[in-house]
Point group: C2
Chain length 220, copies 2
Amino acid sequence: MSDRSEAARLTVARAAARLFIAHGVAATQGGEIAKEAGISERTVWRYFRNKESCVAPLFSRSWANFAEQMRSWPRDISLEAHLATCFDLEKRSPDELADAIIIVRLIAMVPDEPDLRSIWLLSYHDGEDALAAIIADRLDRSRNDFAVRLCAVATMGAVRTIDETISLAAIRHRQSFTTAEVVARMAEAIRSVSNLPFCDPVGPKLFGIRPASPVEGRAP
Amino acid sequence: MSDRSEAARLTVARAAARLFIAHGVAATQGGEIAKEAGISERTVWRYFRNKESCVAPLFSRSWANFAEQMRSWPRDISLEAHLATCFDLEKRSPDELADAIIIVRLIAMVPDEPDLRSIWLLSYHDGEDALAAIIADRLDRSRNDFAVRLCAVATMGAVRTIDETISLAAIRHRQSFTTAEVVARMAEAIRSVSNLPFCDPVGPKLFGIRPASPVEGRAP
DNA sequence: ATTAATGATGTCACTTAATGACACTAGGAG
DNA sequence: CTCCTAGTGTCATTAAGTGACATCATTAAT
């Protein structure tokens, strides 16, 4: 089923990621990924259109996780507060945590691996649509609203840049970050590029009252 | 030399673009591009690492053109005024105009052609670095300044989105735009996502005087 | 329980994108 | 003129990716 095949794809993605991290993208070939994942090479090509995009499901998790936080964001809470709550869920399962490490390592390879880079960008490009839908919903605007699209693009760009920066710093410079730091930087980045006042409590579903002056809803 | 080979690459890019537009990416093969460009297939693979990236030089022109405008932007002029001046240079050479048409057609294919999409995004990703350098220079900030990078990312995202939107509207819906409209939309988009006050006159090289309150430098 | 139907997977042949190795040519420096 | 270098073409080879078809598993119908 869709659920079952989704899991199968993830298995392949993890296998590919391990090999990519260990030997680089160019040096790992399709057959190896298949063997590592325990399926035939033909099936790998059925799951993914090419070698690089084998890791796409992992990259997607990066932004999908963020998008999910946006979707479940109560309308009467500010961005910082909500992000803090979400990341406070450090009760992430060991699996999720293991994936997170793999993802960070992959992202750190992006600058040197052109093929990974294209998948990385493609993934976030997909995220733009998803986020636009969420923002439109939150602000009661149309999904075709250009300002909404722009906001989604800029926000995704900010999140992607944070991911790139932090992953690189973590792997290459062995720097480590507290969740508070990450949350703070992310919130600040999103606020600074968002052209729509969606970072703070928004109406009209909030007791039917809109914040006094939506445009001023920026950080102090 | 570098100049000569740059021209050769452009020749291949145009050849590839013609074929991609005519028959789609999948249906055109390496040998055809080579023949169309009048060189051997081996040389095509020396110029470009894969089929899709043959058109990269054209995509790069899209943002490089914009970046060049930013670079040559006098510090005492507002964004709208400068963009208007640049586009007023409709004295673009016939070659440039022909390229522009090809580029628009290519961009319009992006949603349907995953391979083109990845090249399109890669290209703009390169542009982020270039633009960051320009913005840093303009605002007398460091190129490593995170705010600068963020500004470049958001701005490039805005320009890319405008390009995507306009190209699609032009080709798919036969819509046409006046340069004034394009300039207005682009300026508005850039302003709305830019977290740094670089859209209006900036110091300190402007007679050694900074604008009164840089943060308020937004559109009326 | 058996069978028919459907969808996913494996096997193998095949196409073509991409690389390596080497020979050839053009053009500049001595 | 000769040497040297950078770029190009030719040909053989590797590996990514597809097509065709057989096989297997799951479910629904009888």
